[in-house]
């Protein structure tokens, strides 16, 4: 029983991996310059923010929740850090990052309190905070942009700099993924996230502080969105009020592609990374093979739907096989 479960899970990830390889092969056939070091580095750099935030979204979805406010949090955190840099040019990039993370954390705590403390349905709570946070971003910026020349070089280097040819977003994404891999697989609180998601009542009865776990998950999501926000603004060297509109959909899509079940309680970091890379390829590589950018959204949607439906089919098949085996 246990072996079959782990087999189907690794089968799923294997499937994703095969799909990514086939996709890359097709791209390479269409454009012989696709698989080059520079291209792969660009692709991964562009996927860094998505990867950082999908880790947070994975934890939220593990607890049967969803967070629609992440795009707005990216905008507000990026805007606050960019405005600060505009007025105090000499400020250290580390302070900017901490500031954005703090703003994101505050937004995350708001979401967490609404969901955990006041029992508001996650989709409704984060829908509301998404509107509020996006509106607040407009108000604090007065509708104006912070442009490239108003930012210090140190600030922009948060996203454009790197160590040994590996850009900062990739490094940060890898560090975050490793940290949270350890956190949710090998630490008590991390395991409790799974417990809360797979059976909230059982978690309550076995003494897991369910509400505190849910609050923690949304807070972490907010903090990671804040981090994503400062990288986003530094990377595009412009902060606007409508930064990252609709980005929440990409983050949720990457998480779902990575095999995190929306019903809660199941999902792995390894699958998540593959899902993020797949979405990153779809987001960034289509122009390279001369597919019109207008096709991008439709193709993305179809791949997401296909992935979700395949997941259901595979699960049904497994259940049928399990039943048949039991009959003999």
């Amino acid at each position: 029983m246990r072996r079959s479960a782990s087999f189907t899970e690794s089968f799923r990830e294997l499937g994703l991996l095969v799909f990514i390889v086939v996709l890359c092969a097709i791209f390479q056939l269409r454009n012989h310059n696709f698989v080059t070091l520079g291209n792969i580095r660009d692709l991964l750099t562009n996927t860094g923010i998505l990867s950082i935030m999908s880790v947070g979204m994975m934890m939220v979805i593990l607890t049967r929740g969803i967070d629609l406010s992440v795009g707005a949090v990216v905008a507000v955190a990026g805007m606050v850090s960019a405005l600060t840099v505009q007025y105090f040019r000499g400020i250290s990039p580390v302070v900017s990052i901490l500031e954005a993370v703090a703003v994101g954390t505050a937004a995350g705590i708001l979401n967490g309190l609404l969901v955990a403390r006041f029992n508001v349905l996650p989709i409704i709570a984060t829908l509301g905070t998404m509107n509020i946070i996006r509106g607040v971003t407009y108000v604090i910026s007065g509708g104006a942009w912070v442009s490239s020349y108003q930012m210090s070089d140190g600030f922009k280097r948060i996203a454009t700099g790197g160590v040994l040819g590996v850009s900062n977003p990739i490094i940060i994404a890898v560090v975050i993924n490793v940290l949270f891999f350890y956190f949710i697989n090998h630490m008590r609180t991390g395991r409790q996230i799974y417990a809360v998601g797979s059976n909230p009542e059982a978690a309550d009865i076995s003494g897991i502080p369910r509400r505190r776990i849910v609050l923690l998950v949304y807070t972490l999501m907010g903090a990671l969105s804040g981090l994503g926000g400062v990288i986003w603004v530094a990377k595009f060297a412009s902060a606007q009020s409508d930064t990252a509109t609709g980005f929440e959909l990409s983050v949720i899509a990457a998480t779902v592609l990575g095999g995190v079940s929306i019903a809660g309680g199941s999902g792995k970091v390894s699958g998540l990374i593959l899902g993020t890379i797949l979405l990153g390829i779809l987001n960034n590589a289509l122009p390279l093979i001369n597919v019109s950018p207008f096709w991008q959204q439709a193709i993305q949607g179809i791949v997401i739907l296909a992935a979700v439906l395949t997941n259901v089919m595979v699960k049904r098949n497994n259940q049928r096989f399990a039943l048949r085996r039991r009959a003999i």
């Binding site: 609404l114 509107n131 509020i132 509106g135 009020s241 993305q300």
Partner: protein
């Protein structure tokens, strides 16, 4: 059986005035008082007849969304459905299709979008409606972009723009059509067995299925109705704007859900009436109008809608919890009275 139902429905002043809708009426009156202090020309028949023209196109979506949320589902693909059907209508008209047929095509495409949502939801019950409509939301909008790219399509005949701007006597056409749709949806939800089944499925889907309700076909009908109403929104929106682009109606789904929830429909399903969302449409619409009078940015409205959404859910939650806590001791007393009839006082 008959009698117990009648007892439950017993009418009293207290339950009548403790309804969520009265609070909404109060908010609506407050909004109007504030608006009237902003402009001395506010309280005229024209204001109340002409203003709804500016916000009613979105309101068509509120009607089916109320059903969807009472079912315990959610549909976030409605904005994309509006965009796709509007784009296809405009392109078909510019390609030489008569406008009447283009309008029919618009409604058909929108219904088809709803039909696809319904098929996915009923065939793949493991998937939550959020995920299904999230995927179709991206796909529908994506197809609209594939068709029209970054261009706009328009140049509609004159009678078509009269649809959005014209009026019969003093009453705008859109208000008349909306009123008819609202009455039809109200009757469907509250006076037919179809409506009762929706409530039943919202409170307990499994129990409904076991008691012989064709749950799949009800979900299909509601999905198609959602699509059809998205088609109406597309018609009136395009008519008012004069042209369409693939990015129209972005974020409509959020405003629509906010209106339904503000109207007192519980997101956990099975509770709510059509009147609340109808009031919510006019509250948010007139609020928007008033903010426009004093030149407040549209973005501030985002904050207000968000706050209203969260506050209304909070108040509803607290109210519900209060009733729940009160009902537990009384139920316990009842059980105790049945078990020990001698100890209870008559």
């Amino acid at each position: 059986m008959e009698r117990s139902i009648r007892v439950e429905r017993l009418w009293s002043w207290r339950t009548f005035f403790l309804q969520w809708e009265w609070l909404l009426v109060l908010i609506f009156i407050a909004v109007n008082i504030v608006n009237s202090t902003l402009s001395s020309y506010y309280f005229t028949a024209d204001t109340f007849l002409q203003t709804p023209m500016t916000f009613l196109d979105m309101a068509f979506l509120v009607l089916p969304m109320t059903m969807v949320i009472i079912l315990g589902n959610i549909d976030i693909s409605v904005g994309s459905t509006v965009a796709l059907s509007a784009v296809i209508m405009a392109v078909a008209y510019n390609a030489g299709l008569p406008m009447v047929l283009a309008v029919v095509l618009c409604l058909l495409v929108a219904s088809a979008c709803g039909f696809i949502n319904g098929i996915l939801m009923t065939r793949f019950k493991e998937l939550s409606s959020v995920i299904v409509t999230l995927a179709t939301m991206i796909i529908y909008r994506g197809i609209a972009y594939v068709i029209l790219q970054d261009q706009a399509a328009g140049k509609f005949p004159k009678w078509y723009s009269a649809l959005g701007w014209g009026s019969v006597g003093k009453v705008p056409i859109i208000l008349i059509v909306f009123a008819i749709c609202a009455v039809v949806f109200g009757l469907l939800l509250h006076k037919t067995s179809f409506g009762r089944k929706i409530y039943g499925m919202g409170s307990n889907l499994t129990a409904s299925r076991y008691s012989g309700v064709r749950t799949d076909s009800i979900i299909m009908i509601v999905s198609v109705l959602t699509g059809l109403m998205a088609g109406f929104t597309a018609l009136f929106l395009t008519s008012r704007m004069g042209s369409t682009r693939p990015n129209v109606a972005q974020g409509y789904e959020l405003s629509v859900i906010a209106m339904v929830v503000l109207g007192g429909v519980s997101t956990s399903g099975g509770k709510g009436r059509i009147g609340g969302p109808l009031l919510a449409i006019f509250i948010i619409g007139f609020l928007n109008y008033g903010l426009g009078l004093v030149n407040v940015q549209a973005q501030v409205l985002l904050i207000i809608v968000g706050l209203l959404l969260i506050l209304s859910v909070l108040v509803l939650n607290v109210r519900f919890r209060g009733r729940y806590q009160r009902s537990v001791p009384s139920a316990a007393k009842k059980v105790a009275a049945q078990e020990h009839p001698n100890e209870s006082t008559p």
